[in-house]
């Protein structure tokens, strides 16, 4: 088996339409719509949930590749990645059911593969930094806000389901922090590259100022500072993330 695989080998059923994130955003803006679903209507909540479902799918696929691609990594690393595969597979099931609950279907919106491409990093340390800390950190922000919105609109199914998934994501961030440290012990250059990769991902997913500090109702993606603390991000890291959102380029 090829290890790792080229990112364009990601397999999908025909019903999914794959597009570049930038193209999706530009086409929506050209129609006078916000580039990313802003949770202001039932339709935009459904679109956000679809985006998360696809993200969970790619997270499952990415964690699966980490089990496969690094046979020489410490066994405990493989165990954590295997556990993450199972978690992500349950998340896919949960979000497929939530889509059903919201009257949507898999393939209703285009799929972008930026998450998967991050999961194709060749170095295990970069992969856990980028995926577990960068992307799962983003998931903490998005899910925390979705729980709040669900509570506000009186949808206990959405609220509880996403809250349980959020608990898993916090665990995945912790795993990422643990393995970033362990895999780069005694190798400052490798650690620097992995953190740089994560920061690059953080920057991309600030989405041109869509993610920022602020009230759930006031910003499209609100940085979940409390949840991030729980997940093990330091105050310095949270502060740096907030600062980067203030100078983020349009994605």
């Amino acid at each position: 088996m090829d290890r790792p695989i080229a990112y364009d080998k990601l397999a999908r059923e025909d019903r999914f339409v794959r597009m570049r994130a930038r193209e999706v955003a530009e086409l929506k803006v050209s129609q006078g719509l916000p580039p990313f679903p802003d949770l202001s209507s039932a339709e935009s909540i459904k679109e956000r949930v679809h985006g998360i479902m696809v993200g969970e799918l790619q997270a499952m696929e990415g964690a699966g590749r980490s089990v496969c691609d690094f046979p020489d990594a410490p066994w405990e690393f493989t165990m954590d990645m295997a556990r993450q595969v199972w978690d992500e597979s349950r998340h896919v099931e949960i979000y497929l059911r939530l889509l059903d609950h919201l009257g949507g279907y898999a393939g209703e919106f285009p799929e972008t593969t930026i998450l998967w491409r991050c999961a194709c990093a060749e170095d295990a340390a970069a992969r856990v930094a980028g995926v577990n800390r960068g992307l799962e950190g983003l998931a903490c922000d998005v899910f925390n806000q979705l729980v709040h919105i669900a509570r506000k609109i009186g949808d206990p199914v959405l609220e509880r389901a996403v809250d349980f998934v959020l608990a898993d994501e916090i665990t995945h961030v912790r795993m990422g922090s643990k393995w970033l440290t362990k895999l780069t012990e005694g190798d400052a250059e490798r650690r620097r590259r992995a953190i740089e990769f994560q920061e690059n991902i953080d920057e991309r997913f600030n989405l041109g100022g869509v993610r920022r500090e602020g009230d759930h109702d006031a910003v499209s993606i609100s940085i979940a500072t409390d949840v991030r603390r729980l997940a093990g991000f330091t105050e310095e890291e949270i502060e740096r993330l907030i600062k980067t959102t203030q100078r983020s380029q349009v994605y």
Partner: protein
Amino acid sequence: MRALGGWIALTPELSAKLLMGRHVWDLAQHCDAFGRRLPELRAHAQESESANPSIATFMDAIEEPEAPDQTMERLVGVYSVLKPHLRAIYREHLARANPVYEPPTRRILTRCIEDETRHIVAGGEILGHLRGTAAAKERARVHQARLDGLLAAAGGVAGDGMPSSPLTSVEPLPADLSDDAREFIRLEAATGTWPVPAGLHDALTGFAAALVARDSKALSHWLAPGVAISDVAWETLCAADYAGHKVVAFARLGHQHLVKTRLDGSAGSVVVLTRWTSAADGWRVAALDVLARDPRPA
């Protein structure tokens, strides 16, 4: 475990992805339990090696099918050959393991047998779902026969002979004890009919009929001003004859729709991706792309 983990990304079908995703963690725990038991039996922890080179050949053959259309071969290798064999080996080992001296091993084996039984049932369910055509069934049969032969030639995974009773058949489990693969299939099939607006439905049908006929004049009627079919796309379309068409994806992008239409014929199929926008004179194609052509009949 590593093969299943790696295959999730290479497998298109949602039901098969969910099946593998569910089982990777179970298998990691099996490996972990056996690996931890090894030093208690005066061997190195978490170390593994093939019993003989033929086992490595068998495992390589299991891992071989990586193409998107080889999901069935992947599942047959793991769920119809390897897992039933492992289950039989575990059962024989359990029967031989002394209940006074070897309870730690017996506990591990009991758990693994239970999990493998659950996996085999779920895998069989998904295989039954995927085995559509007679040709697909034949492909699965040939692949299984080849793997069975390699496994027997290696003397089983332990290299010391095949189990005396292979126990290939497994009784169905109650739903709450199984992985309920039927739910994976339901989730995969949840998209009933596409919510295509009435006006767009007629446009899609007319456009697809023009594609099948390669009628450039009729096609141009559906294209928005400034949109043209590229020479490369036209050549791909003209590479074979098509007899029918089917919408295989229907997505929304704001007020526009993304539609994949598959054209099928005896010489293969091709998928055309179009973006439709509503104009004053009805729905029109704002962008068109011909995706990869599959030379095999659908």
